[in-house]
Protein backbone atom coordinates (compact mmCIF):
# COMPACT_ATOMS: atom_id res chain seq x y z
CA UNK A 1 0.00 0.00 0.00
CA UNK A 2 2.93 2.31 0.47
CA UNK A 3 3.50 3.93 -2.86
CA UNK A 4 5.92 6.69 -3.68
CA UNK A 5 4.77 9.71 -5.53
CA UNK A 6 6.46 10.57 -8.79
CA UNK A 7 8.06 13.99 -8.84
CA UNK A 8 10.27 16.28 -10.86
CA UNK A 9 11.68 19.74 -10.49
CA UNK A 10 11.10 22.64 -12.81
CA UNK A 11 12.20 26.25 -12.28
CA UNK A 12 13.17 25.36 -8.75
CA UNK A 13 9.67 24.15 -7.95
CA UNK A 14 8.89 20.54 -7.32
CA UNK A 15 5.97 19.01 -9.17
CA UNK A 16 4.05 15.80 -8.77
CA UNK A 17 3.23 14.72 -12.34
CA UNK A 18 0.59 12.32 -11.07
CA UNK A 19 -1.29 15.24 -9.53
CA UNK A 20 -0.93 17.22 -12.73
CA UNK A 21 -2.18 14.29 -14.79
CA UNK A 22 -5.19 13.72 -12.55
CA UNK A 23 -6.02 17.42 -12.36
CA UNK A 24 -5.89 17.53 -16.12
CA UNK A 25 -8.12 14.47 -16.43
CA UNK A 26 -10.58 15.97 -13.96
CA UNK A 27 -10.68 19.26 -15.84
CA UNK A 28 -11.09 17.43 -19.11
CA UNK A 29 -13.96 15.28 -17.84
CA UNK A 30 -15.76 18.22 -16.26
CA UNK A 31 -15.30 20.33 -19.35
CA UNK A 32 -16.47 17.59 -21.69
CA UNK A 33 -19.55 16.85 -19.59
CA UNK A 34 -20.48 20.53 -19.38
CA UNK A 35 -19.58 21.25 -22.98
CA UNK A 36 -21.49 18.32 -24.46
CA UNK A 37 -24.45 18.95 -22.17
CA UNK A 38 -24.78 22.54 -23.29
CA UNK A 39 -24.62 21.97 -27.03
CA UNK A 40 -27.89 22.51 -28.81
CA UNK A 41 -29.51 24.48 -26.01
CA UNK A 42 -33.25 24.66 -26.21
CA UNK A 43 -36.08 26.48 -24.54
CA UNK A 44 -37.62 23.12 -23.75
CA UNK A 45 -34.69 21.31 -22.18
CA UNK A 46 -34.05 17.65 -22.86
CA UNK A 47 -31.61 15.05 -21.59
CA UNK A 48 -28.26 16.41 -20.52
CA UNK A 49 -29.44 19.99 -20.56
CA UNK A 50 -31.93 19.05 -17.86
CA UNK A 51 -29.13 17.61 -15.80
CA UNK A 52 -26.94 20.71 -16.11
CA UNK A 53 -29.87 22.94 -15.28
CA UNK A 54 -30.56 20.81 -12.25
CA UNK A 55 -26.93 21.26 -11.15
CA UNK A 56 -27.23 25.01 -11.67
CA UNK A 57 -30.43 25.21 -9.69
CA UNK A 58 -28.92 23.03 -6.98
CA UNK A 59 -25.95 25.38 -6.56
CA UNK A 60 -28.29 28.34 -6.78
CA UNK A 61 -30.25 26.82 -3.90
CA UNK A 62 -27.07 26.44 -1.84
CA UNK A 63 -26.17 30.08 -2.45
CA UNK A 64 -29.68 31.30 -1.71
CA UNK A 65 -29.65 29.42 1.58
CA UNK A 66 -26.71 31.53 2.70
CA UNK A 67 -27.13 34.98 1.24
CA UNK A 68 -29.13 37.24 -0.97
CA UNK A 69 -29.07 36.32 -4.63
CA UNK A 70 -28.11 39.94 -5.22
CA UNK A 71 -24.87 39.32 -3.33
CA UNK A 72 -24.41 35.69 -4.21
CA UNK A 73 -25.21 35.62 -7.90
CA UNK A 74 -21.60 36.34 -8.80
CA UNK A 75 -20.47 33.12 -7.07
CA UNK A 76 -22.78 30.96 -9.16
CA UNK A 77 -20.17 30.09 -11.76
CA UNK A 78 -17.58 29.41 -9.05
CA UNK A 79 -20.02 27.17 -7.20
CA UNK A 80 -21.03 25.11 -10.22
CA UNK A 81 -17.45 24.67 -11.36
CA UNK A 82 -16.36 23.77 -7.84
CA UNK A 83 -19.06 21.17 -7.24
CA UNK A 84 -18.51 19.50 -10.61
CA UNK A 85 -14.75 19.60 -10.18
CA UNK A 86 -14.71 18.17 -6.67
CA UNK A 87 -17.32 15.54 -7.50
CA UNK A 88 -15.50 14.30 -10.60
CA UNK A 89 -12.19 14.41 -8.74
CA UNK A 90 -13.67 12.30 -5.95
CA UNK A 91 -15.06 9.77 -8.40
CA UNK A 92 -11.90 9.36 -10.47
CA UNK A 93 -10.08 7.33 -7.84
CA UNK A 94 -12.93 4.91 -7.24
CA UNK A 95 -12.83 2.48 -10.18
CA UNK A 96 -9.12 1.72 -10.03
CA UNK A 97 -5.72 3.00 -9.07
CA UNK A 98 -2.70 2.69 -11.32
CA UNK A 99 0.68 2.05 -9.80
CA UNK A 100 3.61 2.17 -12.18
CA UNK A 101 7.05 1.30 -10.99
CA UNK A 102 5.94 1.67 -7.33
CA UNK A 103 4.75 5.15 -8.13
CA UNK A 104 1.06 5.97 -7.81
CA UNK A 105 -0.21 7.59 -10.99
CA UNK A 106 -3.97 7.21 -11.13
CA UNK A 107 -5.89 8.32 -8.04
CA UNK A 108 -8.33 10.98 -6.96
CA UNK A 109 -6.62 14.33 -7.15
CA UNK A 110 -8.55 15.23 -4.00
CA UNK A 111 -6.75 12.41 -2.18
CA UNK A 112 -3.74 14.72 -2.05
CA UNK A 113 -3.68 17.32 0.75
CA UNK A 114 -1.76 19.80 -1.36
CA UNK A 115 -4.58 20.01 -3.85
CA UNK A 116 -7.45 20.13 -1.38
CA UNK A 117 -5.68 22.74 0.74
CA UNK A 118 -4.94 24.74 -2.37
CA UNK A 119 -8.63 24.70 -3.27
CA UNK A 120 -9.55 25.62 0.30
CA UNK A 121 -7.01 28.45 0.41
CA UNK A 122 -8.24 29.70 -2.94
CA UNK A 123 -11.78 29.80 -1.63
CA UNK A 124 -10.80 31.57 1.58
CA UNK A 125 -8.66 34.08 -0.28
CA UNK A 126 -11.61 34.74 -2.56
CA UNK A 127 -13.86 35.32 0.46
CA UNK A 128 -11.43 37.96 1.74
CA UNK A 129 -11.19 39.53 -1.70
CA UNK A 130 -14.95 39.79 -2.08
CA UNK A 131 -15.29 40.88 1.55
CA UNK A 132 -13.09 43.88 0.90
CA UNK A 133 -14.75 44.52 -2.45
CA UNK A 134 -18.25 44.37 -1.03
CA UNK A 135 -17.88 46.11 2.35
CA UNK A 136 -14.85 48.33 1.72
CA UNK A 137 -11.63 48.03 3.67
CA UNK A 138 -13.12 49.62 6.75
CA UNK A 139 -16.19 47.43 6.73
CA UNK A 140 -14.02 44.39 6.14
CA UNK A 141 -11.91 45.01 9.22
CA UNK A 142 -14.96 45.86 11.24
CA UNK A 143 -16.23 42.31 10.79
CA UNK A 144 -13.33 41.15 12.96
CA UNK A 145 -14.62 43.25 15.86
CA UNK A 146 -18.06 41.75 15.74
CA UNK A 147 -19.88 40.58 17.76
CA UNK A 148 -17.37 41.52 20.50
CA UNK A 149 -14.03 43.31 20.00
CA UNK A 150 -12.15 41.00 22.37
CA UNK A 151 -13.07 38.03 20.15
CA UNK A 152 -10.93 39.43 17.32
CA UNK A 153 -8.02 37.00 17.90
CA UNK A 154 -10.47 34.13 17.66
CA UNK A 155 -11.81 35.53 14.42
CA UNK A 156 -8.30 35.58 12.98
CA UNK A 157 -7.71 32.01 14.10
CA UNK A 158 -11.07 31.07 12.62
CA UNK A 159 -9.90 32.07 9.16
CA UNK A 160 -6.98 29.64 9.32
CA UNK A 161 -9.09 26.98 10.96
CA UNK A 162 -11.65 27.33 8.18
CA UNK A 163 -8.99 26.85 5.56
CA UNK A 164 -7.54 23.81 7.24
CA UNK A 165 -10.84 22.12 7.99
CA UNK A 166 -12.22 22.80 4.54
CA UNK A 167 -9.20 21.27 2.83
CA UNK A 168 -8.43 18.45 5.25
CA UNK A 169 -12.03 17.26 5.52
CA UNK A 170 -12.15 16.62 1.81
CA UNK A 171 -8.68 15.13 1.74
CA UNK A 172 -9.33 12.86 4.71
CA UNK A 173 -12.57 11.48 3.40
CA UNK A 174 -11.29 10.72 -0.05
CA UNK A 175 -7.88 9.51 1.00
CA UNK A 176 -9.39 7.15 3.59
CA UNK A 177 -11.84 5.87 1.01
CA UNK A 178 -9.03 5.11 -1.41
CA UNK A 179 -6.94 3.41 1.24
CA UNK A 180 -9.80 1.11 2.17
CA UNK A 181 -10.59 0.36 -1.46
CA UNK A 182 -6.90 -0.45 -1.99
CA UNK A 183 -6.88 -2.76 1.04
CA UNK A 184 -10.02 -4.56 -0.09
CA UNK A 185 -8.66 -4.88 -3.62
CA UNK A 186 -5.41 -6.29 -2.21
CA UNK A 187 -7.40 -8.77 -0.14
CA UNK A 188 -9.49 -9.77 -3.14
CA UNK A 189 -6.39 -10.31 -5.24
CA UNK A 190 -4.59 -12.39 -2.60
CA UNK A 191 -6.51 -15.67 -2.89
CA UNK A 192 -9.84 -17.21 -3.83
CA UNK A 193 -11.02 -17.00 -0.21
CA UNK A 194 -9.89 -13.45 -0.05
CA UNK A 195 -11.91 -12.70 -3.18
CA UNK A 196 -15.02 -14.25 -1.67
CA UNK A 197 -14.48 -12.40 1.59
CA UNK A 198 -13.68 -9.06 -0.01
CA UNK A 199 -16.36 -8.99 -2.73
CA UNK A 200 -19.29 -7.85 -0.63
CA UNK A 201 -17.42 -5.29 1.53
CA UNK A 202 -15.71 -3.93 -1.57
CA UNK A 203 -19.00 -3.38 -3.36
CA UNK A 204 -20.54 -1.87 -0.25
CA UNK A 205 -17.58 0.40 0.27
CA UNK A 206 -17.55 1.50 -3.35
CA UNK A 207 -21.19 2.47 -3.08
CA UNK A 208 -20.46 4.27 0.15
CA UNK A 209 -17.53 6.05 -1.47
CA UNK A 210 -19.74 7.31 -4.25
CA UNK A 211 -22.05 8.62 -1.57
CA UNK A 212 -19.18 10.19 0.38
CA UNK A 213 -17.73 11.72 -2.78
CA UNK A 214 -21.06 13.39 -3.59
CA UNK A 215 -21.62 14.54 -0.02
CA UNK A 216 -18.10 15.95 0.21
CA UNK A 217 -18.52 17.87 -3.04
CA UNK A 218 -21.79 19.28 -1.71
CA UNK A 219 -20.25 20.14 1.67
CA UNK A 220 -17.26 21.80 0.05
CA UNK A 221 -19.44 24.09 -2.03
CA UNK A 222 -21.85 24.71 0.81
CA UNK A 223 -19.07 25.73 3.22
CA UNK A 224 -17.55 27.89 0.50
CA UNK A 225 -20.83 29.77 0.28
CA UNK A 226 -21.14 29.93 4.09
CA UNK A 227 -17.70 31.55 4.36
CA UNK A 228 -18.52 33.84 1.46
CA UNK A 229 -21.72 34.96 3.13
CA UNK A 230 -19.87 35.69 6.38
CA UNK A 231 -17.57 38.03 4.52
CA UNK A 232 -19.93 39.48 1.96
CA UNK A 233 -23.23 40.01 3.75
CA UNK A 234 -23.36 43.18 5.77
CA UNK A 235 -25.95 41.93 8.23
CA UNK A 236 -23.73 39.19 9.65
Amino acid sequence: MNHDNPSFEFLGLSFNPSNILMLFVTCLVVFLIAFIATRNLQMKPTGMQNFMEWVMDFVKGIIKNNMDWKDGGRFHVLGITLIMFVFVANMLGLPFAIVWDHELWWKSPTADPVITLTLASMVVVLTHYYGVKQLGTKGYFKTYLQPMPFLAPLKVIEEFANTLTLGLRLYGNIFAGEILIGLLAGLGASSIFGLIGAAIPAIAWLGFSVFIGSIQAFIFVMLTMVYMSHKVSSDH
Binding site: G12, S14, I20, L23, C27, V30, F31, T38, M43, I115
Partner: protein, 183 residues
Protein backbone atom coordinates in the same frame (compact mmCIF):
# COMPACT_ATOMS: atom_id res chain seq x y z
CA UNK B 1 3.82 15.12 5.88
CA UNK B 2 1.94 18.10 7.23
CA UNK B 3 3.15 17.82 10.78
CA UNK B 4 6.65 18.01 9.49
CA UNK B 5 5.83 20.98 7.34
CA UNK B 6 4.47 22.91 10.27
CA UNK B 7 7.43 22.12 12.43
CA UNK B 8 9.47 23.38 9.57
CA UNK B 9 7.36 26.49 9.29
CA UNK B 10 7.91 27.40 12.94
CA UNK B 11 11.55 26.48 13.06
CA UNK B 12 12.83 27.84 9.83
CA UNK B 13 11.70 31.28 8.82
CA UNK B 14 14.71 32.53 6.94
CA UNK B 15 16.01 32.79 3.38
CA UNK B 16 16.26 29.07 2.78
CA UNK B 17 12.69 28.67 3.91
CA UNK B 18 11.03 28.32 0.51
CA UNK B 19 13.71 26.01 -0.78
CA UNK B 20 13.39 23.83 2.29
CA UNK B 21 9.62 23.90 2.01
CA UNK B 22 9.89 22.89 -1.62
CA UNK B 23 11.70 19.73 -0.56
CA UNK B 24 8.68 18.58 1.42
CA UNK B 25 5.76 20.25 -0.30
CA UNK B 26 5.05 20.25 -4.01
CA UNK B 27 4.83 23.99 -4.46
CA UNK B 28 4.46 23.41 -8.19
CA UNK B 29 1.27 21.45 -7.60
CA UNK B 30 -0.27 24.40 -5.84
CA UNK B 31 0.36 26.63 -8.83
CA UNK B 32 -0.84 23.96 -11.25
CA UNK B 33 -4.02 23.41 -9.24
CA UNK B 34 -4.89 27.08 -9.15
CA UNK B 35 -4.09 27.56 -12.84
CA UNK B 36 -6.03 24.48 -13.92
CA UNK B 37 -9.03 25.36 -11.82
CA UNK B 38 -9.10 28.98 -12.98
CA UNK B 39 -8.72 27.91 -16.59
CA UNK B 40 -11.49 25.36 -16.21
CA UNK B 41 -13.74 27.96 -14.66
CA UNK B 42 -13.08 30.51 -17.39
CA UNK B 43 -13.55 27.98 -20.19
CA UNK B 44 -16.73 26.63 -18.68
CA UNK B 45 -18.05 30.12 -18.17
CA UNK B 46 -17.43 30.89 -21.80
CA UNK B 47 -18.57 27.62 -23.34
CA UNK B 48 -21.06 26.09 -20.94
CA UNK B 49 -22.40 28.12 -18.03
CA UNK B 50 -22.73 31.38 -19.93
CA UNK B 51 -24.93 30.01 -22.74
CA UNK B 52 -26.86 27.82 -20.30
CA UNK B 53 -27.57 30.76 -17.99
CA UNK B 54 -28.55 32.79 -21.03
CA UNK B 55 -31.07 30.16 -22.05
CA UNK B 56 -32.40 29.86 -18.53
CA UNK B 57 -32.82 33.62 -18.25
CA UNK B 58 -34.45 33.69 -21.64
CA UNK B 59 -36.84 30.98 -20.54
CA UNK B 60 -37.64 32.82 -17.33
CA UNK B 61 -38.34 35.93 -19.37
CA UNK B 62 -40.47 33.95 -21.82
CA UNK B 63 -42.50 32.43 -19.01
CA UNK B 64 -42.98 35.80 -17.38
CA UNK B 65 -44.12 37.23 -20.71
CA UNK B 66 -46.46 34.32 -21.31
CA UNK B 67 -48.00 34.71 -17.89
CA UNK B 68 -48.46 38.40 -18.48
CA UNK B 69 -49.98 37.77 -21.92
CA UNK B 70 -52.31 35.16 -20.48
CA UNK B 71 -53.38 37.55 -17.75
CA UNK B 72 -53.95 40.28 -20.30
CA UNK B 73 -55.98 38.08 -22.62
CA UNK B 74 -57.98 36.85 -19.66
CA UNK B 75 -58.81 40.43 -18.69
CA UNK B 76 -59.59 41.26 -22.28
CA UNK B 77 -61.89 38.29 -22.73
CA UNK B 78 -63.62 39.16 -19.50
CA UNK B 79 -64.12 42.68 -20.76
CA UNK B 80 -65.45 41.38 -24.06
CA UNK B 81 -67.75 39.03 -22.21
CA UNK B 82 -69.11 41.90 -20.16
CA UNK B 83 -69.56 43.90 -23.33
CA UNK B 84 -71.35 41.06 -25.08
CA UNK B 85 -73.54 40.52 -22.08
CA UNK B 86 -74.48 44.21 -22.02
CA UNK B 87 -75.17 44.14 -25.75
CA UNK B 88 -77.31 41.05 -25.38
CA UNK B 89 -79.28 42.66 -22.59
CA UNK B 90 -79.75 45.78 -24.67
CA UNK B 91 -80.89 43.73 -27.64
CA UNK B 92 -83.32 41.84 -25.48
CA UNK B 93 -84.74 45.08 -24.10
CA UNK B 94 -85.01 46.45 -27.60
CA UNK B 95 -86.81 43.38 -28.84
CA UNK B 96 -89.22 43.52 -25.95
CA UNK B 97 -90.02 47.15 -26.55
CA UNK B 98 -90.44 46.47 -30.26
CA UNK B 99 -92.85 43.66 -29.57
CA UNK B 100 -94.70 45.83 -27.09
CA UNK B 101 -94.94 48.66 -29.60
CA UNK B 102 -96.12 46.34 -32.30
CA UNK B 103 -98.77 44.92 -30.06
CA UNK B 104 -99.97 48.37 -29.10
CA UNK B 105 -99.98 49.46 -32.69
CA UNK B 106 -101.88 46.38 -33.74
CA UNK B 107 -104.44 46.96 -31.09
CA UNK B 108 -105.07 50.54 -32.10
CA UNK B 109 -105.20 49.49 -35.71
CA UNK B 110 -107.75 46.84 -34.89
CA UNK B 111 -109.88 49.32 -33.01
CA UNK B 112 -109.66 51.68 -35.94
CA UNK B 113 -110.59 48.96 -38.38
CA UNK B 114 -113.49 47.85 -36.28
CA UNK B 115 -114.71 51.41 -35.95
CA UNK B 116 -114.34 51.99 -39.68
CA UNK B 117 -116.15 48.76 -40.47
CA UNK B 118 -118.91 49.64 -38.12
CA UNK B 119 -119.27 53.08 -39.68
CA UNK B 120 -119.27 51.54 -43.14
CA UNK B 121 -121.94 49.10 -42.14
CA UNK B 122 -124.08 51.86 -40.76
CA UNK B 123 -123.61 53.88 -43.85
CA UNK B 124 -124.51 50.96 -46.08
CA UNK B 125 -127.54 50.17 -43.98
CA UNK B 126 -128.72 53.73 -44.24
CA UNK B 127 -128.24 53.89 -47.96
CA UNK B 128 -129.99 50.57 -48.37
CA UNK B 129 -132.93 51.80 -46.35
CA UNK B 130 -133.02 54.90 -48.45
CA UNK B 131 -132.86 52.90 -51.62
CA UNK B 132 -135.60 50.57 -50.47
CA UNK B 133 -137.79 53.54 -49.72
CA UNK B 134 -137.24 55.12 -53.11
CA UNK B 135 -137.73 51.76 -54.82
CA UNK B 136 -140.94 51.27 -53.01
CA UNK B 137 -142.13 54.73 -53.93
CA UNK B 138 -141.12 54.09 -57.46
CA UNK B 139 -142.99 50.79 -57.43
CA UNK B 140 -146.05 52.44 -55.91
CA UNK B 141 -145.94 55.13 -58.57
CA UNK B 142 -145.57 52.52 -61.31
CA UNK B 143 -148.44 50.47 -59.95
CA UNK B 144 -150.47 53.59 -59.67
CA UNK B 145 -149.76 54.52 -63.25
CA UNK B 146 -150.61 51.03 -64.44
CA UNK B 147 -153.78 51.17 -62.46
CA UNK B 148 -154.69 54.51 -64.04
CA UNK B 149 -154.09 53.15 -67.49
CA UNK B 150 -156.16 50.06 -66.74
CA UNK B 151 -158.86 52.19 -65.21
CA UNK B 152 -158.97 54.39 -68.24
CA UNK B 153 -159.03 51.36 -70.45
CA UNK B 154 -161.81 49.87 -68.43
CA UNK B 155 -163.74 53.11 -68.31
CA UNK B 156 -163.42 53.63 -71.99
CA UNK B 157 -164.67 50.11 -72.59
CA UNK B 158 -167.52 50.66 -70.21
CA UNK B 159 -168.44 53.99 -71.65
CA UNK B 160 -167.89 52.80 -75.09
CA UNK B 161 -166.63 55.94 -76.21
CA UNK B 162 -163.36 57.46 -76.70
CA UNK B 163 -162.57 60.04 -74.26
CA UNK B 164 -159.70 62.22 -74.44
CA UNK B 165 -157.07 60.50 -72.55
CA UNK B 166 -155.44 63.69 -71.41
CA UNK B 167 -158.67 65.15 -69.96
CA UNK B 168 -159.71 62.12 -68.15
CA UNK B 169 -156.37 61.02 -66.86
CA UNK B 170 -156.25 63.99 -64.50
CA UNK B 171 -159.77 63.15 -63.35
CA UNK B 172 -159.00 59.51 -62.78
CA UNK B 173 -155.79 60.12 -60.97
CA UNK B 174 -157.57 62.41 -58.68
CA UNK B 175 -160.14 59.74 -58.08
CA UNK B 176 -157.50 57.15 -57.32
CA UNK B 177 -155.67 59.42 -54.95
CA UNK B 178 -158.99 60.02 -53.26
CA UNK B 179 -159.59 56.31 -53.22
CA UNK B 180 -156.14 55.75 -51.80
CA UNK B 181 -156.77 58.31 -49.16
CA UNK B 182 -160.14 56.86 -48.46
CA UNK B 183 -158.66 53.38 -47.89
Amino acid sequence: MFGNTFILLSANADAGFLAALNQRLNLGDIIVTVIFFSLLMLLLKKFAWGPLMGVMNQRAELIANEIEAAENSRLESQKLLEEQRALLKEARDNAQSIVENARKQGETQREELIAAARAEVNRMKESATLEIATEREKAVAAVREEFVSLSILAASKVLGKEISEEDNRALIEETIVKAGEGR
